[in-house]
Symmetry: C2
C-alpha cells in the first residue's frame, strides 16, 4: 500500500475549471434573472445562482490549501468558458431555464465521472459541489409549463438545447487540446475511453430532454 | 401586559421593502462583478452579492408565514428601487465598491433604527439581515487602494457617493409619500422625528466617508 500522495498539478487544473465554471454560472444566472416573468421566478433563479457561489468558495479554499492561488488555477478557462456563455446568451425565460437545466446536469454528470479519478479529500469535495436537485426540478417544471402553454416552444427549446451542447463540446475540445495533464486525468491514464465518456454524457442528456418534453 | 399581537400590514410593507432591496442588491452586485480588475476581486464581489440572497430567503419565508405572498409585499418597491439602481449604474470598479460600501451601510443603519419599532420575531429577523462587516471592510479597503493609487479619485468618488445618497433619498421620499402605513411605522406613531432620523443616517454616512478618505 502506498502512502497518501500530494495531488499533482492536474488536480489543481480540474478544481480551477470547476471553480471558474461555478463563478461564471453564478454571474450569468444572476444576470438572466431580469428575464424572469415575475418576482417569484426572478428570486428563484437568483437563489439558484447564489448556490453556485458557496461551491466556488469551497473549491477556491481547497486550491489555496494546495498552494495554488485560485485565480491562477482559473485563468486558463477564462476564455473558453466566457466564449461558451457569450455564444449561448438566452433571449427569454424559457431559454434561461433550459440553459440552467442542461448546463447543471451535464456539469454534474461530468463531475460524477471525474470524481473516481481523484483521491480524498478532492473526491468528496467534487461530489459535494453537485447541484441541489430542487433546482433541477424547478427548471424542469418551468420548461414543462412553457411547452404546455405553447407546443411549438418544444421545437425551439430542443434546438436551443442542441446548440448549448454543441457549444459546450466545442469549448471542451479546446480545453482538452490545451490542457494535456487535465485530459490525462480525465482519461485516468488510459483506463477511461474519452469518446465513451462523451457518449455516456450525451445519452444521459437525451434522457433528460425527453423527461421535459424536448427531443434531441 | 398585552398578549402578543399579529403584526399589522405595515410590518409586511417593511419586510417587503427590505426583501426587494436584498434581491435587487444581489442582481446589481452580481452584474457589477464584470467590472472587477481581476478574478480575485470578481469572486469577492460575487460572494458579497450572494450573501444578500440568503437574507432575501429569510424575509420571504417570514412574509409567507404572515400570509403575505412575498411578491405582493415587494411589488410597491419595484419601481423606486429599480429607478435608484438605474440612475446609479457604476462605470468602473471604484464606483462599484463605493456603491456597495455606501448602500450597505445606510441600509444597515436604517434597519437598526427601524428594528426597535418591531415586535419579535421581526425585530430579531431585521437585526439578523444586517450585512457581514467583512464585506464592508473589503469595500473600504478597495476604496482606500483606489484613492492611494490616484488621489484625484477621491474627488470623483466623493461626488459619486453624494449622488448615491441623493438618489436614495429621492426614492425614499417617493416611497414615504406613497406608503403611509410604512411611514407611520418608521416614525413609531409620533415617537420618532423622521427629519432627525435622516440627520442621524446622514451623520453616520459622513463619518464613514471620512474613514475611507472621501469627503461629504
Amino acid at each position: 500500500m502506498s502512502a497518501p500522495t500530494t495531488p499533482g498539478p492536474a488536480v489543481a487544473d480540474l478544481l480551477g475549471l470547476v471553480a471558474f465554471g461555478e463563478l461564471l454560472a453564478f454571474e450569468r444566472m444572476a444576470g438572466d434573472a431580469r428575464l424572469a416573468p415575475d418576482l417569484h421566478r426572478r428570486a428563484a433563479l437568483s437563489e439558484m445562482a447564489a448556490a453556485e457561489i458557496a461551491n466556488y468558495r469551497r473549491l477556491a479554499d481547497r486550491l489555496t490549501a494546495l498552494g495554488v492561488p485560485p485565480e491562477d488555477a482559473m485563468a486558463p478557462y477564462l476564455e473558453p468558458l466566457q466564449a461558451y456563455h457569450d455564444s449561448t446568451e438566452p433571449r427569454d425565460w424559457a431559454e434561461v431555464v433550459t440553459k440552467a437545466y442542461v448546463g447543471d446536469a451535464i456539469t454534474d454528470d461530468f463531475l460524477r465521472e471525474i470524481a473516481d479519478t481523484l483521491d480524498e479529500p478532492d473526491r468528496a469535495l467534487v461530489l459535494d459541489v453537485l447541484h441541489d436537485s430542487r433546482y433541477a426540478e424547478f427548471a424542469a417544471e418551468e420548461i414543462r409549463v412553457a411547452v404546455a402553454a405553447d407546443p411549438r416552444v418544444a421545437g425551439r427549446l430542443s434546438m436551443w438545447a442542441r446548440r448549448l451542447v454543441g457549444e459546450a463540446l466545442s469549448q471542451a475540445g479546446r480545453v482538452a487540446a490545451e490542457r494535456a495533464a487535465l485530459t490525462t486525468l480525465i482519461a485516468q491514464g488510459d483506463r477511461v475511453e474519452v469518446p465513451a465518456l462523451f457518449r455516456r454524457l450525451t445519452a444521459a442528456h437525451t434522457t433528460r430532454m425527453a423527461t421535459v418534453g424536448l427531443n434531441n
